[in-house]
Structure formats: structure tokens, C-alpha cells
Symmetry: C2
Subunit: 353 residues, 2 copies
């Protein structure tokens, strides 16, 4: 049975409870903490975008297209679709010689309400560039330039990338290889689904996901080119954390504050993964109800509190994510989201281990 | 242990699971179905707005102010904040001789994205009338007219209603009395919290909530004036279901289709209550994770399928809520939300019982 990791309090009572599983693993696959079933495959969704971006850098695409930190960071992002995100993703496509017409992620209104209202106020509709995955997909298109052998012709690229979201396409085969080689999990026997942005998502156990992020954070166990790519992506995201999410997004706020000490990335349906490079650890969280990010964020914050060296101000900063004050429409404090004592205890043991 | 009632499927695997509790009770307090712990108090949130609206009708407020079906329905609503909802709530306040300045529910952007974008496109900001609870609060203000003895002076009413969201205010005492008398649960020993719109919410067991809705649907066990008020509210909502929710809202869609056979009302944090008057039953659902409405909606749809007499078309209509096709941004089918066999089996037994 997966235990309750997060409680939602209202007034003097627990109103709702979130069950979940958690793996904290080192680069040698040693398990530092295991809560719930860490061997059941789960769809990691967007929590593994950084692993999926490795081929972009391990190939010569990032170098040859002179991708900036902003551009590498947005390749790992589930961004808010704010104007700065739209411009950055569009700029990557421009470097590749194509436009947003090649994107196969679909369009949706920006995650950020302010950005949505700003679009609506201009009488505009969202495009694929507003899709939270547009940076990842722009990265896939840049990778395609390398895979097709740099013919320097936008027309050929458009033909080459067509259907890039399909598992059998050269681009997606590279992306899946990166997932396979970092997690060490055989994707051919994994459950498979289609992600929100139409690429495949593979069921991978938390144990393997956490191991992959320990490798991503340390380079240990990766081939040399992949280790360099991981370091470059981590540094890019630490330098441009706004690109990974945006306004009021936990990934952005945490990495703006803690820099390279934490690489963290949320995913749909209660997923959250992180690398803690200074501790040599990877983290993978799946909330069983999967409903939205609120509970996974509390668990990730509790993990960071327990395992990352923080000063007092940083501890207060992260504590506001693991013990969240809930306010109502009048700004009155009505409750809290809190990491449970059981979770705190397990993390204390992991920290001491 | 509360069982899994709803599974979220993606591709060929279960991605997420929702635990929950359910009570189905008749007007004599006979339990027809009990899943999970139905004696643990839960905050019913907005699922009991219809019970909280009883004093508005049992007093002479609804008659004397000539409240329409639209207005009585919106008094029971968690509406989308669309223009028609705003106008209707404003009209109730006008009948009471005051304006939206008296509302103490706070302001938020409309639940309906289209309505939010339309506001933004006009360069406007949301007001308390856009709050999903504005109709309920307008009903409280109308009730205050009766409680203060109809002085026919807006100025006195403004003074009288001030602080109406506080538990000790005359208005809220009437509202709490309605909850107490319909549920039969002693609120003085209940957990207490503050709701999103700032009124108190009391922890009440599902057994008592379901019993209250059996009474609400049949009038059995209510005092005469309350039984008449319940009937009038049910008919008003059946006549004006758009007022209870709005575009794409399950409560609205179900009651538009099934009329007086179902009175159902969603609440925050995974709550859902219903009266099935033709079966003499009340229903109360609490999803343990409480994250949003998706799982509670599936459970309620499965309850309606099992317990309400439906023709084939109606069965298909409701089936689309208990076995929901999930599509991604490209409109590709990626998974489903489904009532579990365990839930279906329990409901089959309840139906036969």
C-alpha cells in the first residue's frame, strides 16, 4: 500500500489526503529511500524532458545551431506559454530554418492565466508555440537537422521531420534511446501511451527514473558525450530557470533560488523528478491520484529540505512549498498542504543513510 | 481502507487511481450502499448549497421578492461566472434593494475560460458577481431581508447584512440550522473550516449528507415548510439547470437531460451529492485525494447509471461521464477515466437492494 505523503488541512481537520510513491537512488543504483512500490512502471510524462533533450546536445545540433542557455532550458520545459517562451521556441525553429508550421504538439491556451488573457485581449488565438511543450518540440526539430546530415535546406528538413512524434521516426528513436540508456529500463517491454503532445510515453519504474536522474546529475554511468550533454543542460537550466516554467511555477522558483544544487522537473499526473548533483542522488515521485501538481510539489519540497544543504533563508523559502498556506478568495487563511510525519521520517532516514 | 473507485488509463496501463467513499441512503436513514468510511466527517463544501438555500424559500424571502426559477437555481449554484450568471445574481441583489458591494464572497476570474477571456478582451477585471458563489451569497442577502423584517430600506439592509459570512450572524445561523435539521448531525461537535467564499463549512459524515439529500428529494422527515422549499428548489433547478453551473459543466448537462429525476451538485475537494427523488435516495461522495472534480464526476455518473431509470439514449449520455474518453491537444484519444468493477459491483447490489 502506498502511504499518505501529503495532507490537505482545512480549519481543524484533514480534508483530503494524497497517496504516493517515492524513490531516491544514487548513481550506482543504490536505493537511499523507497516509499510505496518503486518497481511498478509509471508514465513519467514531462518529468523526463531533460533526458529526452540529451540527444539534442550529444549530437552536434546544439553546437552547430549555437543554441543559447535559454534555448537549451526551454527544450527541457513545460512552460507557461508566456510571450518570452513563445519567442524563444520560435527562435530555435528559425535557427533550424523552419517555422512553427512543423510543430506536431498541438495548440492550447497558455498555462499562465495572465498570458491567456493577454492573448485574448489582443483578439488572438493560441498556436503550437504556446503549447507548454513547444520548446521540447523545437529541440526535436533541431535534433532532426543533425540526424538528416545538415543539408542546410528548410524544405528538406520539413519533409524529414514530418511525423517526428511517431515512435518509429528517427527523431523519436533517438529520444527513446536516451531514455533507455539513462534509465537502464527496457522500453520494448514497457507499457506505452501517448503523451499530451502526441509523442510516446513509456511506463518506467520510479527506481529506474531516480537512477537516471542520479546519472544525469553526476554523469556517472553515462557515456562521455551524454555526461557532457547532461552537464550542459543542467547549467543551461540553472542559468535560465524562467524558461523551464515561468511565473509562479515551482521549478522556476526553486532553481532561481538554489541554482545548480537542484535540477527538478514536474510532469503531468502527479510526477516529479529531480537530480541533486551535490548529493549524487536522483529523485522520482508519483502521486497515485495524479490529479494535479499540488501534492507532488509538497513531496519534492520535503525531499529538498531533507537532502540539500540550505541556509536558514533557503530553508524558509523551501518550507513554504512543503507546508503551504491555503488562502481563499478573500485572502483569508483557510488551511494548509503539508508533508506528513511519515514522509518526513522516511526522508530523515534517507538523509542520514 | 477506502477502495479505488476510478482509474485513469493511458495507452495500455492504469496511470492514476482515485480512492473514495460513498453513501447511498434512503429518507428513513436506511443505508443502501456504503463504500469506505461513511461515518468520518468530511467538509461538504459547495455540494450542500441547495440545503443552505432552504431558508431563503422557507422564509418569505423568495415569495416576497418574487424570485424566479433562474434566481432560485443560482442560489444553489457553483456557476461559471458567465455573463448570464452575473446578470442573474445582480438581479437578485437589485430586488433586495442593494448592489454587489454587499457581497462578502470575494472576487475571482470566471471558472469558464471563455468568460474569463471575454472579460480580459474588454479590459475588465472580475468582481464578486463572477465568483462561482455569487448566487448563493445573493440568496443570503435576500434571506436577510426576511430576517430583518422587511424595512424596505436598502441602507438598513446594508447595515444588517454586514458580516453575514460569520457563523454567529443571523443569516449564517439560519443556514447552519438548515444543515443541522436536514442532516441530523450536531454541528456543534463537527470539525469546522472556512470555505472558499468565507462562510463556515462543517465536517459532516457522508451517511448524514446522503440522508439529508434523500429528505431533500422526497420531503420525508423535513418540517412542512422545509419540504415545500426543497420541492421548489428542485423544480427551479430542473427548470434552469444552466444557472447551477454553465457551459460544459456536468451538473448542468445531467439535469438538462434528466430533469427532476436527478438533483446533483458538485463541491470542492472531490465532493458530490445528489438526490434521486424517484428512488427515494440520497447520495454523497468524497474522493479522498480531493484534487478536482474528475473522479467524483465518474462516480456520480456510475451511481446515476445504476439507480436511475434511463432509456438507451440516456444510458449512452450518462455512460460518457462514467467511462470518459481522454484526448490530447491534437484530439488524439490517449486514455480513459473509468469507474472500477468494484464500484460497479457495489452499485449493482445497491440497485437490487
Amino acid at each position: 500500500m502506498t502511504p499518505v505523503l501529503v495532507e490537505a488541512w482545512r480549519g481543524d481537520a484533514v480534508e483530503s489526503e494524497h497517496f504516493g510513491s517515492l524513490a531516491i537512488v544514487d548513481a550506482d543504483a543504490g536505493v537511499r529511500a523507497a516509499i510505496g512500490d518503486i518497481d511498478r512502471p509509471v508514465f513519467p510524462r514531462s518529468a523526463v524532458k531533460a533526458l529526452q533533450a540529451l540527444p539534442l546536445v550529444e549530437s552536434d545540433a546544439a553546437d552547430r545551431l549555437k543554441l543559447t542557455d535559454d534555448e537549451l532550458a526551454i527544450a527541457c520545459a513545460s512552460h507557461n506559454g508566456e510571450p518570452v517562451h513563445v519567442r524563444t521556441a520560435a527562435g530555435m525553429l528559425e535557427k533550424a530554418g523552419v517555422d512553427a508550421g512543423v510543430l506536431e504538439c498541438g495548440a492550447h491556451w497558455p498555462y499562465d492565466d495572465g498570458a491567456s488573457r493577454e492573448l485574448a485581449a489582443r483578439g488572438a488565438l493560441p498556436t503550437a508555440l504556446n503549447n507548454n511543450c513547444s520548446g521540447k518540440h523545437a529541440g526535436f526539430v533541431c535534433l532532426a537537422c543533425a540526424l538528416m546530415g545538415w543539408t542546410d535546406s528548410g524544405i528538406d528538413l520539413r519533409r524529414f521531420v514530418k511525423g517526428y512524434v511517431r515512435p518509429e521516426h528517427a527523431v523519436m528513436r533517438e529520444v527513446s534511446e536516451a531514455l533507455h540508456s539513462t534509465t537502464g529500463f527496457d522500453l520494448s517491454r514497457a507499457p506505452r501511451g501517448t503523451d499530451g503532445c502526441s509523442i510516446p510515453t513509456y511506463g518506467i519504474p520510479l527506481r529506474h527514473l531516480a537512477h537516471a536522474f542520479a546519472r544525469f546529475g553526476t554523469g556517472i554511468g553515462l557515456r562521455a558525450g551524454q555526461a557532457r550533454a547532461a552537464q550542459r543542460l543542467r547549467r543551461a537550466v540553472a542559468a535560465s530557470p524562467y524558461m523551464v516554467g515561468g511565473a509562479a511555477r515551482m521549478d522556476t522558483l526553486v532553481m532561481q533560488r538554489l541554482g545548480e544544487r537542484v535540477f527538478c522537473k514536474v510532469g503531468a499526473e502527479g510526477m516529479y523528478c529531480a537530480a541533486l548533483p551535490h548529493r549524487g542522488l536522483g529523485v522520482a515521485i508519483k502521486m497515485r491520484d495524479g490529479n494535479n501538481a499540488r501534492a507532488a510539489e509538497v513531496v519534492m519540497a520535503a525531499v529538498i529540505e531533507a537532502l540539500v544543504t540550505l541556509d536558514d533563508d533557503e530553508r524558509d523559502f523551501i518550507g513554504a512549498f512543503s507546508d503551504v498556506t491555503l488562502k481563499n478568495w478573500n485572502g483569508i487563511e483557510v488551511g494548509a498542504l503539508r508533508a506528513t510525519p511519515a514522509l518526513r521520517q522516511a526522508l530523515l532516514q534517507a538523509s542520514a543513510g
